[in-house]
């Protein structure tokens, strides 16, 4: 569905963001895009949506070049940005004006999502809180039934129950045809949601692995003492939360935050495991 070849991108000569990035993303997956502040998560998403132009390299999204911003591709992209704009009109008017651009827009699904998020359909968008607006824009995006769903920090501004609702909705929204990419720095919000982790660091993709692959190759456990097998560990009240190679195929629950910190701190130790 998405193919990136040798992507180079920078906002200025002194601020190089991506150096020869290449990867492929397929449909039927929910990708979690993680990285430190300024690592380029949002910029990578913008490149995929055609909102910025790369210096060199090739991006192919559903057979199109996103930089050309062709309607045939745009109607298959649902982009939920971190900072969004909704006009000062009622939800109904917003839908009337925007939904016809998307041939697969599902009005019933949109109504169901609004109900799920507890948003009154007749309310004016300008009278809504940031969180409510975010729920409307997420509902609209999902109701377009676009093949590529891109979300940049979608859980920002959502309260705790809404985050759980969001996870539930996203899990049910995934179909074989869709590819969902969610970027966040709040890694715990993506727990049990994503099936593949992509981590950006130092102008490159530091890790791209499915959750199953991570669970097969690494073991996340609590230890009282650190031994030589530990790749990375963080002190906790009951000892250490540690990552070790999964030599004995133990079952363990992926701790996204620990993995994220491990990738940043122990790149050299993790590289051979995933290569």
């Amino acid at each position: 569905m998405i193919k990136i070849d040798n992507l180079n991108f920078s906002y200025s000569k002194h601020r190089i963001l991506f150096k020869n990035i290449s990867m492929q993303l397929s449909n039927g997956h929910i990708y979690g895009l993680l990285g430190k502040n300024g690592a380029g998560k949002s910029t990578l998403l913008k490149n995929l949506a055609g909102l910025v132009y790369a210096q060199s390299g090739k991006i192919d999204v559903l057979g199109f070049d996103p930089a050309k911003r062709q309607p045939a591709l745009l109607q298959q992209i649902c982009f939920i940005p971190e900072e969004f704009h909704l006009p000062a009109i009622k939800i109904d008017s917003y839908i009337k004006a925007n939904a016809p651009f998307y041939p697969n827009f599902d009005h019933q699904y949109f109504a169901d999502l609004l109900k799920e998020f507890d948003i009154p359909a007749g309310q004016k968008l300008i009278d809504m809180s940031y969180g409510q607006k975010k729920k409307v824009i997420i509902s609209f995006g999902l109701a377009t039934n676009a093949k590529l769903v891109i979300m940049d920090e979608p859980t920002n501004g959502l309260d705790i129950p809404s985050k759980a609702q969001f996870r539930k909705i996203m899990a049910s929204a995934l179909t074989e045809e869709k590819c969902i990419i969610i970027s966040t720095h709040q890694v715990r919000d993506l727990d049990n949601l994503i099936d593949t982790v992509i981590m950006l660091d130092e102008n490159k993709i530091a890790l791209k692995a499915s959750v199953d692959e991570v669970a097969n190759k690494l073991c996340f456990k609590r230890m009282k003492e650190i031994d030589e097998t530990v790749i990375y560990a963080e002190a906790s009240l009951a000892g250490y939360n540690a990552i070790t190679p999964n030599y004995h195929q133990e079952d363990s629950k992926l701790d996204m935050e620990l993995l994220f910190n491990a990738v940043l701190a122990e790149k050299d130790k993790l590289k051979p495991i995933f290569n």
């Binding site: 309607p71 992209i77 982009f79 940005p81 704009h85 651009f101």
Partner: protein, 278 residues
């Protein structure tokens, strides 16, 4: 699917853009109507005081400067703010990701910044003018001398003749020529300000105005210096004027020249819009 232009998508886009742009546009139009009405109320002759109808043509001369100053101001504000949202990350994302082609979006912009404001400005000016003429001047007539067919003839101005687009000391003999140049100039103004609204990310209107002022100043300086360089201490030997009244091609050539420059700016604007990033 046609990714360049589709009439259904285009009509959807016109409706969508009107939802946001329409409110601002109608508010601006309301302000313009109020300004025009205000000027008419303060300046239109009270015929109970001016019993001599001969005074009327001089008392309604305020219409020409009002029309020619307010018009460019209105259309430039509309054009200069249409794409101003592209300087805002959130709004630009929403605009650029709307599933319509760049050409459709740009043509929509031209319709809403050039065609609609120019026509609506002429229309509201005519309506306000008509109402005031009907209310105050419908019973008066006036005989004036006009230049027609190479000689001055007497013409009686009655009811309809007082209307701005019928009777004007500035326009009456050369109405078509002046209208032609004014129309092309209006298109030039909107095209320049449309480019400004795309090119600059903040304070688009002011920055465009400053750029135009700087450009015009430099152009004038070059013009004056070039004139001095080529014509200093020389005398004109031809008596041929550049504009010989109705039927002369001069105004048409000027209007064509202005329109070509405007088209150039529209093309520049389209290229800038295509290249716009968030």
């Amino acid at each position: 699917m046609n990714n360049t232009f589709n009439t259904r998508r285009f009509s959807l886009l016109l409706k969508r853009q009107w939802l946001e742009f329409g409110k601002i546009y109608l508010m601006s139009l309301g302000i313009i109507i109020a300004i025009i009405v205000g000027f008419y109320l303060f300046n239109f002759p009270d015929l109970s005081e001016y019993k001599k109808t001969e005074m009327v043509p001089y008392r309604i001369n305020f219409r020409e400067p009002l029309f020619t100053l307010l018009g460019p101001l209105f259309i430039s504000i509309i054009a200069g703010t249409y794409f101003a949202h592209l300087g805002n990350k959130a709004k630009a994302t929403s605009d650029l990701l709307t599933p319509a082609s760049k050409l459709e979006k740009y043509v929509t912009a031209i319709i809403y910044t050039s065609i609609v404001p120019i026509l609506s400005y002429v229309f509201i000016f005519s309506v306000v003018d008509f109402c005031f003429v009907q209310a105050y001047l419908s019973d008066y007539s006036y005989v004036e001398k006009v230049y027609e067919g190479g000689q001055y003839v007497n013409r009686t101005i009655e009811k309809g003749g007082w209307l701005f687009f019928n009777h004007s000391h500035l326009l009456h003999s050369y109405f078509n020529e002046v209208a032609l140049i004014c129309s092309s100039f209006s298109i030039l103004v909107t095209s320049v300000f449309l480019v400004g609204s795309i090119y600059f990310n903040r304070f688009q209107y002011i920055k465009t105005l400053v750029t135009i002022s700087a450009f015009v100043s430099v152009a004038m300086l070059i013009y004056v210096q070039a004139g001095k360089f080529f014509f200093d201490n020389k005398v004109r030997i031809s008596s041929d004027n550049s504009f010989n009244g109705p039927g002369d091609n001069g105004p048409l050539l000027i209007a064509t020249g202005i329109t070509i420059v405007a088209l150039f700016f529209y093309i520049v604007g389209y290229i800038r819009y295509k290249e716009k990033e968030v």
